[in-house]
């Protein structure tokens, strides 16, 4: 397959996944802002979310205060913000258009229809009027695109590069999300001087925080199934980092990356495959205690660098002309 084609397929998938993850992130931030007495936390959480995409300075320059409406304008509608849903869906569609001959008609039409419908929904003002409904729509379109990919595409190289894009993007997004959410609860607890786990208010606060995190990754029901226990930060981290059966966990994403990388290997890609394999193996045998020894934030920072390194190596091995 053409290197340029592989590159477009990979980025088509990454941008599709990115739109979904952005929708999940903002949706949960907005929902939190609806909870009684949580205004400040919700705004802090929205700000944290912007920080996660390293966008806070640009946002402040454009909109000043962090409030739900401006965040929607910035993260959904802003054509200049490369991380907005507008940009992600636009880029996903442009990449799909560049390789429309290499993907199934159904997949192309889905990407094209998503873009056209998105413009229409924005015209009608849905993102601001009914953000919940809108973010649900973004997620559904991403599910649809993935479903059509799996349901209609022959499992050739094109399919593998799409999958690589999806899972590398998702691993990155999940890691950043966990990092921000843990940082957030630590600072909030410190500010509220609520450090005693036996304090009932502490437990309630923790519950809503982790419940929101789990829901934003469609993992709330899974948590209950796996642990049949109350919700704790440590278990949330374990589920979202190490559980190989959890579709959005980092371990599960890395397993997919390794499997797909194996199938597209060429003469140059051995080192990339080795590094991906090593990362997946580490995630498989690691325990939460070991992560804690490094400190979660430091460990995640290293992990994000490793994921980034894999992306760069894949470009070198396959995608760059």
């Amino acid at each position: 397959m053409l290197s340029r084609t592989a590159d477009c397929l990979y980025w088509m998938a990454r941008y599709t996944e990115r739109a979904e993850n952005t929708a999940r992130l903002i949706d949960i931030g907005l929902q939190q802002s609806l909870l009684p007495g949580q205004q400040r936390e919700a705004e802090a959480s929205l700000a944290g979310m912007l920080g996660l995409a390293e966008l806070l300075p640009v946002y402040r320059k454009k909109f000043g205060d962090v409030n739900p409406e401006s965040v929607i304008r910035f993260m959904v509608l802003d054509e200049e913000n490369p991380s907005s849903i507008w940009s992600s869906l636009h880029n996903a569609r442009e990449n799909a258009r560049a390789v429309r001959g290499q993907i199934t008609t159904g997949l192309w039409e889905t990407s094209n229809a998503t873009w056209l419908e998105f413009l229409k929904l924005c015209d009608e003002g849905l993102p601001l009027a009914e953000p919940g409904k809108f973010f649900e729509w973004v997620q559904l379109r991403s599910h649809l695109s993935r479903g059509i990919t799996i349901g209609t595409m022959i499992k050739d190289e094109a399919f593998r590069f799409i999958r690589l894009g999806t899972f590398l993007e998702r691993a990155d997004s999940t890691a950043r999300m966990i990092d921000v959410r843990f940082h957030e609860i630590e600072t909030q607890d410190a500010q509220a001087e609520l450090l005693d786990p036996d304090d009932p208010e502490f437990a309630v606060r923790e519950f809503y925080h982790w419940e929101a995190v789990l829901r934003s990754l469609s993992a709330f029901e899974a948590y209950r199934k796996v642990y049949r226990d109350t919700i704790s930060g440590a278990r949330v981290a374990e589920l979202l980092i190490l559980n190989p059966d959890m579709p959005r966990s980092i371990a599960s994403c890395m397993n997919e990356v390794v499997a797909n990388l194996q199938l597209v290997g060429n003469g140059n890609s051995e080192e990339t495959r080795r590094r991906a394999g090593k990362l997946a193996a580490t995630l498989r045998y690691l325990t939460l205690d070991e992560i804690a020894e490094h400190g979660l934030h430091d460990w995640l920072t290293t992990l994000l660098a490793d994921i980034d390194d894999l992306g760069g190596r894949m470009r070198q091995d396959f995608l760059v002309l």
């Binding site: 397959m1 053409l2 290197s3 560049a98 390789v99 001959g101 039409e109 094209n112 229809a113 597209v264």
Partner: protein, 468 residues
């Protein structure tokens, strides 16, 4: 005015009776409803084109008309014979002018008209193309002006486009009106990509058994990008851009995820000028440096060959009937429109005296731009052209204004007659000349207009070759 559906007294011609019965049996507003459905589908499928001058990336729909254009099979049989004959002669002409030059020596066509033509590529002299086929893909524009009375308006031998609309229009009609197809015997067209692929494969250098065929596009923002992607997909070959290709040791390769792969046949949708910056336009970012070297070494086939423009040039057009006689020893089956070459003094005088009756076209023009339609033009436009003609007579030809046939077409106020033309796509391979029945029908949507080009508001229709 000749209407293809209705006789002058308003009765429906026999080959349209089935359609008329079907339409009459539907509620009023039925077609209008289907029209909205069709537009939505076209947009979703992304069957769009862009117009130069619009914002980059603006995509438009080509208006699609739901009333089919029907050609009786017996008429088509004659057209097919005529098209085959014409394209054979045009290919022989190209082989001749880039080879021995018999037709020039015989004085059939003035040599300077060919050799000093801007479309004549001296780089092609003494270069053998596989099987001597220069124009593997030709689009011949036909117009009908009366009962079974057809003219060739122009030959397109460089990168004729529009075939994807022919195919998508048929698909759309079958999706919208399946019952209509049950009631008629309409010749299928969907196998065109198969014929095209076979043609391209047979044109491979050194008769390779399993040649690598690619489609070369200028890219995403080219007006016909949809068609390039569509044809590549339908044939199951790679769609490449110039930057995906490279030339090494006079061999063309493409960059793939498994290193470089040899390319044998390039169906290029880029004009000659942009193909190879080493030889042609030096600033071209679209082409492939060294491509011409590989071509000259016989290591790659270009479809169409470089330099085919010399045969479809409007100043060469008047000689096509003589070419047919010269190369094939046959009388032309299809009529040529009588053409005045304005560089000839007598012709120029006649043209200047009759500007209000004639159509004047730029010799190198295309897309319906830069032409004067005398009977429809204002005084100022005519005077403007008079000045242009006097300044550059060799840049123009003139023809009588043909009364193009009309076909009922959906317009804002219901169904009304609009002028149409026909572009069949003719494929030539070592095993012969082939085409799918019919072609692309273009329709001038503006009342009275004779300009059918999509860049100027023309639309398209599904074209049926139906059993008589």
């Amino acid at each position: 005015m000749f209407d293809e559906m209705l006789l002058e007294n308003g009765t429906v011609r026999p080959h349209y009776e089935g359609f008329e019965r079907w339409k009459t049996a539907r509620n009023s507003g039925f077609l209008e409803g289907k029209k909205a459905e069709a537009d939505h589908l076209f947009r979703q499928v992304g069957i769009t084109f862009s117009v130069y001058g619009d914002d980059v990336g603006t995509e438009r729909l080509i208006p699609f008309d739901l009333v089919p254009r029907i050609i009786p099979a017996s008429q088509w049989a004659r057209l097919e014979k005529g098209l085959t004959q014409r394209v054979q002669a045009l290919n022989l002409f190209l082989k001749d002018v880039y080879g021995r030059g018999d037709i020039l020596r015989a004085g059939i066509i003035p040599a300077n008209r060919v050799l000093s033509n801007a479309q004549f590529r001296k780089e092609m002299l003494e270069l053998d193309v596989p099987a001597g086929i220069y124009a593997m893909i030709a689009g011949i524009d036909l117009v009908c002006v009366g009962e079974n009375e057809w003219y060739v308006l122009e030959d397109n031998l460089r990168v004729p486009s529009g075939v994807s609309y022919m195919l998508e229009n048929r698909k759309m009609m079958m999706r919208l009106f399946p019952d209509l197809f049950g009631a008629h015997r309409i010749a299928p067209v969907a196998h065109y990509p198969d014929l095209l692929l076979e043609t391209l494969r047979q044109g491979a250098p050194d008769s390779l058994e399993d040649p690598m065929v690619v489609v070369l596009t200028p890219g995403l923002y080219n007006s016909a990008y949809f068609e390039h992607a569509f044809l590549a997909q339908q044939m199951g070959v790679e769609l490449v851009e110039g930057r995906d290709l490279m030339v090494e040791d006079d061999t063309v390769y493409m960059h793939t995820t498994h290193g470089k792969k040899r390319v044998d046949v390039i169906y290029r949708r880029i004009d000659d000028d942009y193909l190879d910056p080493e030889v042609f336009n030096k600033d071209s970012m679209l082409g492939v440096p060294g491509l011409m070297r590989a071509y000259r070494a016989g290591r790659v086939t270009l479809a169409n060959a470089i330099g085919t423009g010399v045969a479809d040039d409007k100043s060469i057009y008047p000689y096509v009937p003589d070419m047919i006689r010269f190369y094939l020893g046959q009388e032309p089956i299809l009529n040529n429109v009588p053409t005045h070459i304005c560089s000839e003094t007598d012709s120029l005088k006649y043209v200047l005296d009759n500007l209000d009756k004639l159509v004047v076209k730029e010799v190198h023009g295309a897309g319906g731009y830069g032409m004067l339609i005398g009977p429809a033009a204002s005084r100022a436009e005519i005077e403007d052209f008079r000045a242009k003609l006097k300044a550059h007579p060799d840049a123009y030809i003139a023809q009588p204004t043909l009364s193009l046939s009309t076909c009922p077409t959906m317009v804002e106020k219901g169904i009304a007659p609009r002028h149409i033309d026909l572009r069949p796509f003719v494929l030539t391979s070592p095993s012969g000349v082939r085409m799918v029945p019919g072609g692309l029908t273009r329709v001038a949507l503006k009342e009275g207009s004779l300009v059918v080009n999509s860049s100027q508001g023309g639309g398209t229709k599904d074209t049926w070759v139906a059993a008589d």
